[in-house]
Each structure stands twice: as C-alpha cells, then as structure tokens.
Symmetry: C2
Subunit: 431 residues, 2 copies
Amino acid sequence: MNILIKDVQLEGNPSDILYNVYIKGKYIDKILPIKAVDSDNYPFDKVIDGRRKVAIPGLVNAHTHAAMTLFRGIGDDMPLMPWLEQKIWPSEARMTDSDVYWGTKLACLEMIKSGTTLFYDMYQRPEATAQAVDEMGLRGVLSGVCFDHFKPELAERSKKNIPLLEKKIRAYSDRISFSIGPHAIYTVSGELLQWIDRYSRENNLLIHLHLAETEQEVSDSLRNFGLTPVRYLHKLGILSPRLLIAHGIYVDEEEIMLLADHGVKVAHNPASNMKLGSGIRFPFAEMKKAGITVGIGTDGCSSSNNLDMVEAMKLAALLGKGWRKNPEVLTASEMLYAATESGASIAGLNTGRIAEGCLADLSLIDIHSPAFTPNFNFLSNLVYAANGSAVDTVICDGKILMENRKVPGEDEILEEAQASAFSIVSAGLII
Amino acid sequence: MNILIKDVQLEGNPSDILYNVYIKGKYIDKILPIKAVDSDNYPFDKVIDGRRKVAIPGLVNAHTHAAMTLFRGIGDDMPLMPWLEQKIWPSEARMTDSDVYWGTKLACLEMIKSGTTLFYDMYQRPEATAQAVDEMGLRGVLSGVCFDHFKPELAERSKKNIPLLEKKIRAYSDRISFSIGPHAIYTVSGELLQWIDRYSRENNLLIHLHLAETEQEVSDSLRNFGLTPVRYLHKLGILSPRLLIAHGIYVDEEEIMLLADHGVKVAHNPASNMKLGSGIRFPFAEMKKAGITVGIGTDGCSSSNNLDMVEAMKLAALLGKGWRKNPEVLTASEMLYAATESGASIAGLNTGRIAEGCLADLSLIDIHSPAFTPNFNFLSNLVYAANGSAVDTVICDGKILMENRKVPGEDEILEEAQASAFSIVSAGLII
C-alpha cells in the first residue's frame, strides 16, 4: 500500500513550511514541499490530511516487559523484594501463553495510542509476545528472559532453549527480531553469560540485560564477584556493541568509559527508577559525552505503570535537570533523539528518523489543543507539555495502525486483557 | 439546575458498587446506591450516564500563574536569571488586560480538560484573570502579584492598590476569592509583608508567597536578613494559617515545626522544581507528619509547561520516592488527598470531596482505556498510569463545564490565545 500524507509539518523543520510525505510500501519514499507533488508521479491508495498535525518519528521504547501490563496496579508503593515475592512472581508462575498474548496485545494498544512503533522487550513465553506484536503491526526486538540461578542444569537448559526460541521467533514477521534476555548478574551465572555472548556473536543477536539498577545489586556484586557490575561484565569479556543494559544508574566514570569503549548501549528508565526508589542519578550527560548510545524506556507496567514514551521523555529531562540542579542539561531535542534515532540504533534498525529511504514508522501529533498552544516551539510542547494522548495517527512499516485515535479491535483487547489479568490474580488472591 | 449522575463508581468505594449522585444547585445533595433513587424525589434537568466512569473530586492546583500559558515554550532549558531577564520580564511588560484574559482562558480550558476545578493564582492584572475565570466557570483564589523592591514609594503604592484590587475582584462571581500575592522575600520588603499580614488578618484574606524555592534565595536571605527564609518570616511575625507558601523546598526540621505550629500552608510544585533545577528534596513526608496542610501545584506554564494536575500527582509521588530511594512513601492515596481535600482546605473551601453538602465540584474519569486496564486499583491507575486526558466530564459549582471532553468555545480560545502570545512575543522578537 502507498500512502500520501498531505500538508503536514515535519518535526525539526520550520512550522510554516508544509510537506507531503509519500510512503511506498514499507519505506518513506519522498518528502517534498507541498507544491512539488505531482500526484501522477506518486500514486497512492490512501491519503491522510496532515493539516494541524506534526509528523515525528515513531517512538522507541528501549526497555519494557510488555505483558506485565496485566499487573498494572497490583503492588504499588511497596519495597522491591516483598513486591516481587508476594505479588509478581506468584502471578507470573500462573501465566499461560494466552495471558502473555493478551497482556502484550494490551501493551501494543497502549504503545500505538502513545506513538511508539518499536520496543525492546524481555519476558517469558516470547512466542506469545511475538504473535501479539505480529498481529498488532508494531516492530519488536523480543527476548525471552533467562535465568540459571547459578545452577549448571538450568544453564544447560537455557543453552538448549535459546536456539529453539530464536528459530520460533524468526518465523514471525520481519518486524520482529529475536534477542537474548539474561535477566541480571544476580540471577544468571558468569558461565552462562559468556555462552550467551558467544552465541550472540555467532548469530549477530542483541543481548538485553538488567544492570547496575540498585545499590543492593552493586554491593552484592562486590561481595560475590569482587567487582562492580560493569567491571564484572568486563572481566567476563562480554562488553560489546551487541549488549543493551537496562538502567545503568550505578556506574562510575571509569565504568562509563568501559561501556563507551566497548560500544555497549544503555536504556534509561526514569519512571521505574523513581517509583521503585532504585536511584535517580542516572549519568545521561556523562554517557552522552562519552559517546554511548542511550535510549529511553518505560520498564514494565508493574513498576512504572504505563508505556507512554512522551511522558518518559519528560520524566528523563525533568529528573536529570532536577538532581543536577541544572535546567540547561537534557534538552527536549536530546530527549526526542534518545527516544527515536538513538533507540532505533540499539538494534541497528533503519528507523527512528523521517527521511527518504527509512522505514515508514511515524506518528502524527495533533497540535490543535491547549498543550500545543501557543506553538512557539513544537518540540518543547511535545516533551514538556503534552503526553501520549496528543498522538492522532500512527504508521509502522508503511501500515496505518491508528487513525483519528482509533485502533481496530480496541474493545476486544481491553476486555480480554482484563479477563486474563483477573483470572491470574484471583487464582492467587494476591491483591 | 439539578443534575443526576447515574450508575457511576465513586473513588474510594468498591468498584462493583454503582451510585447515583444528585446535584441540586451548587451542592452535592444526595449520594445513593443506584437502587435507592426514586426520580420523583430527585427532579433533574440533566442526566449524565456514569457507566464505565469513576467520579473523583475536582482537582485543586495550589500554585500557578494562569496567564503564563502564553509563554509556554519560549525559554526552556535555560538558567533562571537569563530566562527571566531575556524572555519572561520583557514579555510581561508588554502584556495588556486582553492578553491576561486570553492567557487565563487558555489556562482554564487546559485545567478543565484535565479535571481541575479550583486553583490558587498569582499574577499581574488579576481583574482580567477574574473575568476569564468567571466566564469559564472554575473556582479561583486570585492574587495580584505585588513587589516593592525595597522602595518605600512602591510599598505605598501597593498599600493603596491592594484594597482597590480586593474590591474589584469581589465584584465577580462568588466562585472567585481575592488573596494577596507578595512575590517573594527578595522582591518585597519586610515592612510591606507586615502591612500585608495585618491587612489579611483584618479582612480574612489568604497571602500567597513564593518561599524557600532555591539555594540562592536561602543564601541571599542569610546575607540580607541574617536568617533563613522561614525564620525571617517568623521574626517578621507573619507566619499564620492565612499564609500559603509556594515551594518550601529549603526548610530544615525546626522550620517545618515553625510552619506547623503557625498553621502555614504549603504548595509543592514538583515539575517546576525539577525543570528549573531548583531542587528536588521537598520534605513532603516530614511536613505531613508535622501536620502541615500540603497541596500540589503545577506552577506557571513557563516553568512547568502544563497545568495537568493528574500528571502533577504522579510527579510528586515519583520524585518523593525517587530522592528518598523509598517506594513506600507518598502513596497514590496521599497524592489524591493533597490534590483535592488538602488543596481546598488551604482557603477553607467546602470542596475537594464528593460528599453530601459539599460544593458540586467533580470530574468523571473514563476508565475504558489502556491506562485503566486492568482495573485492579483505580487510584493507582489514575495517579501512576493515566494523565489528564482521562477526564471525560467536569462539573464545578453545579454546572457542567465539560462533557464528552468538549468544552464550549474551545476553538476561539485556542485561536485568541495563540494570537495574543504571538503579538506579545513578536513585538519583542524574543524567541
């Protein structure tokens, strides 16, 4: 299908110049000032009226656990370990493929409604996640979470499981990639991490790992391995451009240089880090200066409660300005870059920009609202004043996923996800 | 006009019990389980379908500068003094009554759309603010900002001006109250502050003052007055239950006790404090423990960029959990209390609760959306997952201000506010 978006503003360009954006198949084919379009040259099946709208790249959620939308609101205002032990783990143990599928459908619906077109996921039963993502039309880099809890027999099981999972996930749409999801250094042995690194090198796969999230993790790492988390990974020899670490709050200057020198990518999750009390001093500016690719994520809905990447950009900026007492750092422009192009580059995908030749992943923002009035500065209004509800239209891989804020099948998804969530939770009476 | 809201959930009550809420004139007259309503006893002019909606009290914005919506986005990512000197003050000097009127109309539109029914304002030309608030149907406690810059002739002018302003503001609807707005201790002399305190006591008026917002203010206060800000006010003898201080970040334990002992009220502004880099360690829990009435505010749109009190509740909770590294403090329930009943009690108004006999100021939240799915915990979903766009219907003083997210006159307000903003700014070429 070919789509012509007419008379639209483009983020990063003057607000008084309108463009036509021509999407041919999966790609952005041409971007032209409005008078230059001769429709004979650009045959389209669908035209979208872009007036009073601004096109931005599809947002990229660099770290989440999509199906955990089902646990939204079941354990707020609690410390980490009781929350995991009393609420999350017992619930997860009861999840079926169908639950993961409907939880992911709900997550995809929420992501589409707030302008996200690509996400990096880590969860159990990733085939069910892939099925949901495939149907919903988004792009996903999906990892099956793995643990061995330092037990050789569990490590062996993971080594067998990962290639099987990879094969299963590869059977889905080419919007979906497989990555490997070792949970964390406190749940996965160094031996398995090294095996995963070799496998990822041989098969060109991303590794998605929680790292340096809490002070407890750092002190445990020092006690168990004699090294801080980043130094421990360095000693294991698994720092590489194929590694994405989620959180990365507790890293010192030398560790930032280690991450930079090895091309490691980082996903910053401001809402989760604040809400769980993990820590707030994420060294965004230092990582950027060192040349590290930093994306922004929401984390799962059981810790941050929503998947709104517009809100996540605001939180990242405000938190960084706040703890540094410096209003000049972490600008709106840097936040959009982190939440689009930088996020897309974690997996080396040709998206995150609105440019000819890029994959056609974009949103139209409705600027006829108080948050965008006055419109002195679209990007400031988007990052600091708006939220995901400003997204009107979403296109991913050249297909329209939402138009006029309507996503096909919304009601069924809300109902089925609600039913799944209640059946898991009521079985354990854990609310 | 009498309104019957049928089949609605009430925040704070089990989600499986529906109520009918009967509004008679300005007041909530009856709240009854749905089967108990005999419509002969409750004659209504208007019925609202409350199904799939939850009623919450109208939100209370405890500190803002409404007309500054006109400056949204003109000076982000800048340090305080250049921002004020290069962007805000030159713009404000050019504002007319019409600008303040349209800026406030825009602010009221934004507040209605995100469920706020009462706000505490401080700005120049408060008659124009009052006119806009009167027309838009909200409740406002409005102060004209005053400065004397330590010059006796300016202090004398303020002393003449305040009673005149009071008389003018009293001429508007009884939804509007007058308060006195001395800007800050670094712009208003102690002598004028003491005069204001006497006048407020004699006339039973609230005083709305910025205090203890930045480290600079504290060090200047120590240098100029030999005391920290709260101790300086204490020495002046003007700590009282009629005093509302905005910010209150830099207060020590003894100062918290001084504020508590004198019944001083505090407005916490998390977005502004983070974005301007003012400071993040607001002692919410300590103030609450000391018995201080704490409300939540957004501050003006030139510093925090929006007026969304649903977002402000989330930011207050996340920031407080974040800097303390404690996920158990500042619960969703405490945030809603601060943003409703506590905020309303700053001016002693009979609102902020949904209860028989209270003023009919309330919102209906549409829970048929991803942010409220699953609905294990409405309040958690509201505070942690949703934003102001979840508000469907707003009633203030017994009148419907928004229904199905439509506010009468929206388009005109967006256009006129945009025109006002551009005329002010283009006159100074300050973007």
